[in-house]
Amino acid sequence: MSTPQPTPAVATRGLGKRYGSQWALQDCSLHVPRGRVTALVGPNGAGKTTLLRLLVGLSAATEGAAEVLGRAPAPSEEFLASIGYLAQDVPLYKRLSAEDHLGLGAHLNRVWDATGARDRLARLKIPTDRPVATLSGGQRAQIGLGLALAKRPQLLLLDEPVAALDPLARREFLASLSEAVAEGDLSVILSSHLLHDLERVCDHVILLAASRTQLCEDIDDVLASHRMLVGPRRNGSGTEPSVHVVKTTRTTNQTRLLARLDGPVLDPAWEVGEVGLEDIILAYMGGDDPGPTELLGPVGAVR
């Protein structure tokens, strides 16, 4: 871990969670600096929700350790005050209105920015006097985000906040999030399987697949270090020492390698091209292309 930050937003070491005999998350080591908007991506069942629940202290780790803003996630008022959490499916008290929820928040938190939350909801023209059950999914998600932000947390953790929203509501939600990030000193971890949306708002990515961490770094670095190598059909990547293959695709006369490079590609037979974040993520997740593939796990991936 080579960041100068004394207390990262999130640092975990060998974090694991087992339910019965099933590991929901295993050997998860992360280091997320402060001030980042982090996309937590991975296929369903990769442990995204489990990781977030461990980080906010709703569940306890089976093994390993986590530090959030320099503290172990523990049920203390200091810890709870430092985080904002929006769980999957935006849990709200159905019969209460947005205004009721803001009232509850004011009573349940020492720091509570009711004015900011009301302004935000007013700008979005969300009715604050009706039971939230009568509002749309997008409006409820905005209320959930508003409640999480009103705590003025240092770290905001959002579990699939846009999964159930239509494209317009999704865009509005992410715009609200970006605005909040721009306003203050806030770190965000946002889980989703909608890669395309995340790329617009996130500058850091954690990729969980098969209950393990495959990637955890700034998106710019990910883009800079990954390349698509296209060459004549052959087995393996030859003797290239600086090429760490993430995924290999072979057609009848071609081999395509999506690889992480830590130096130049020596063999001129390889045609080296840039590759988008979505393709990189999909490669780590185990594939979009049909055909025989080989997936190298976390080799060289975890920083």
């Binding site: 629940r53 849990p91 009232g103 349940l108």
Partner: protein
Amino acid sequence: MSHLVWRLHRTQVYFAAGALAALAVLLVVTGTAMSHDYQRFLADCAATQSCGDGQGQLYSGDGAIFDIVNLTMVVPLLFGLFWGAPLVAKEIEDGTHNLVWTQGVTRVHWMRTNVTWVLLAAAAWGSAMAGLVSWWRTPENALGSRFDAFDVQGVVPVAYSLFAVALGIAVGSMFSRVLPAIATTLGAFVAVRVAVGVYLRPHLLAPLTTLGSLAGSRAPSGSWVISSGLVGPGGQMLGHSLFAGQIPAACQTGGIGQKGLLLPCLVAHGYHQVVTYQPASRFWAFQGMEAAIFLVLAAALTAVAFRRVLTRDA
């Protein structure tokens, strides 16, 4: 924190207050009339020097209201079903525990405030109801036995209420789903109440026995009669009735069917009636013991609920 409890449960509180007020009106109106009748009955007694069967004379037409009063027995169960069982289970079922347990108050604080308020509410409603019923039954208690309505007066309704709520909370924190929690609370409450009320209560204190003549032996007025039966001349217990073979030969001559002849004969041959009972004076001892049993259960269940919630992987 209390604000949250109030905001989420105030509708239930209004409803429960309304129901209690309705019961109060009903009991005060009918109770006043009954008390009036009873005073007049006592005055008549004093004047004529003979009272007779006061219960039969006074309240023979009031069956419905007695049924309603006896039905207050289920009210503690309702507290358990509607206040206790959903307390934790509904939060988890709706996912709102994710919201409320990540606000600025700790889980133990949330639990403490919620449990305290719902237990207080159960105690308050239980006390009000028990007080009303105890007052309402004053004439009836004097004429008959207070033990006849043991479960709806005195202090036990309060203990039942606290037990029901604690049971509901504990079950709800284990099941995390409202309906199964309600069903289990219902079953467990009834099972424990029956086990204690039917099987344990008669044995809490050793009953007294009286050995009396066959003709007119009775337990003292106001007692709880646990059993009665015949005792033979040798002291052997014979149950409620005699088989023909058990009747001594000397008494068979008079004709077994003729009770008028049989009884004096049996008495003459040393037969007695034995009655085991709990005297009226033990009413409060029984109330105290049974209340203590349910309070201990309530405390244990509350501890279970806290443990479950605090160690839960939410």
